[in-house]
């Protein structure tokens, strides 16, 4: 039996279900029952109970795409600073003929391959080096809102600002646009989404703000 309604805001210790097999992210099992361990919105997805946290630092999970800055290149590992004072490593394959062409200070987007006692390991497959742009840091708990349902919010941002976005699940975002005015508008939009992440009708307000900002930006340049 479920003790919560879909999308209910739950608090740590709140009972969620009688079925221990439903325990997912943000929940724990005690005496055969599932309880919430973080504050957030409870959801039941394919029979698994998950909590989408409303706050907190980023906790890396396997499969997450994260964005980071290369902080050190060692003979057998590349260290990447992924924000929140955490460091991840990229380990190139042993018999790699072409070493990863990344240097200290580069910005990379990569998938988390493993987490655990040995630290966070990023995958070399699908590793992207980001050429240039503005780096923004937001609360990792707000990233799902910036992406939007099935990427809807990102689509809006891309369409309205004409900028490219690289979004890391850890809360780091790179914006690269045609000119500074559009880039600044994009940054303002992202900050607005972060600030008002939990309000409704946000997409509409973001569009309005961007149109107003970019409209005014054009006027300024004509002076």
């Amino acid at each position: 039996m479920q003790y919560f309604s879909e999308n209910e805001l739950v608090v740590p210790g709140q009972i969620l279900s009688d079925n221990p097999r439903q325990s997912g992210f943000g929940t724990y099992v005690r005496e055969g029952k599932v309880y919430a361990s973080v504050m957030g919105f409870a959801k039941s997805i394919n029979g698994v109970l998950r909590i989408i946290p409303v706050s907190g630092r980023y906790r890396p999970q396997r499969g997450d795409k994260v964005l980071g800055i290369v902080s050190d290149v060692k003979p057998n590992a590349v260290e990447v600073d992924i924000g929140g004072e955490t460091t991840a490593v990229i380990k190139p394959h042993e018999r790699e003929t072409t070493p990863l062409k990344i240097d200290i200070g580069d910005c990379v987007l990569a998938e988390v391959k493993a987490t655990g006692l040995k630290g966070i390991v990023l995958a070399t497959e699908g590793l992207q080096k980001i050429p240039s742009g503005i780096l923004i840091s937001v609360n990792a708990a707000k990233v799902p809102r910036i992406i939007g349902r099935k990427g809807s919010m990102l689509q809006v941002l891309r369409r309205e600002t004409g900028c490219d976005f690289w979004v890391g699940r850890n809360g780091l975002i790179v914006v690269n646009g045609p000119d500074p005015a559009h880039e600044f508008a994009a940054v303002a939009a992202v900050n607005m989404i972060e600030r008002e992440a939990h309000t409704s009708g946000l997409t509409e307000r973001v569009i309005q703000m961007l149109r107003k900002m970019l409209g005014r930006g054009d006027e300024d340049s004509s002076n």
Binding site: P12, R50, R57, P144, G148, K150, H198
Partner: protein
């Protein structure tokens, strides 16, 4: 001269009934630069709690390979008490830092943060009795606000004995001139006591009765904690990527 703490009507120095709590107010997310924060007001007691982390352990030698560590600092402002509190950590503050840390360690899932540290700061701005219990209540709220996984929240209250009567939530005068002070912290869902201290003398029956009173009050405080948390985040989560 003997100070009377209970008058002929059975009321206390501030006019409360023996089982009555002082007015309590809570707010969550009050500090910008922390990951989670809370403000708790209990009568004249005012406390801010802030949580930073999980982050890398500093100093490094405290690091544990299999679980996280909690670093807790209970600190009173110099102006929080009648007579200026000296600068630096006093013996009392060091003890309270430890008991608050130990109470919170019982509920936080530290094994999820190997080689990490969670910093908890409890700052007493104004003290009027019950700072350690209000501090725990605030710290637990701040932890929840910081999104740190924990088994349960903690709510705390003190029970005291003044003029031979058991009273709930003692204030400064009752603490100074009363017979006993018993702070209790409870994890309500786990139904376990995570902090129990006793200063003064109480009979076993009185302790039992006091615990019962504390338990009742803790339920109320816990309800207020939940409301404070929900007040900050209560909004429709439409359009979330799942």
């Amino acid at each position: 001269m003997k100070i009377r703490l209970i008058d002929e009507n059975g009321l206390r120095v501030d006019g409360r009934r023996p089982d009555e709590m002082r007015r309590m107010r809570m707010e969550v997310g009050v500090l910008e630069k922390t990951d989670g924060s809370a403000y708790v007001e209990l009568g004249g007691t005012r406390i801010y709690a802030g949580v930073i982390g999980p982050r890398e352990v500093h100093p490094k030698h405290l690091e544990l390979p299999d679980k996280g560590v909690i670093n807790c600092r209970y600190h009173m402002a110099s102006f929080s008490v009648d007579e200026r509190k000296p600068l630096g950590m006093t013996r009392r503050e060091i003890e309270l830092s430890k008991v608050i840390r130990e109470a919170l360690e019982t509920v936080v899932f530290l094994e999820e943060f190997p080689r990490m540290m969670i910093d908890i700061f409890v700052e007493v701005i104004q003290a009027d009795g019950g700072t350690r219990t209000a501090g725990i209540t605030a710290a637990s709220l701040a932890l929840a606000d910081a999104g740190i996984p924990m088994a349960d929240m903690i709510a705390a209250i003190a029970v005291g004995k003044v003029d031979g009567v058991l009273v709930l939530d003692i204030n400064e005068e009752e603490d100074k001139y009363g017979e006993a002070d018993m702070p209790v912290a409870i994890a309500p869902h786990l139904n376990s006591i995570v902090l129990l201290q006793l200063n003064g003398r109480m009979t076993p029956e009185e302790v039992d009765k006091g615990l019962e009173m504390a338990q009742k009050a803790v339920k109320k405080i816990h309800q207020m904690q939940i409301e404070a948390l929900k007040r900050k985040y209560r909004v429709e989560p439409e359009g979330l990527e799942t």
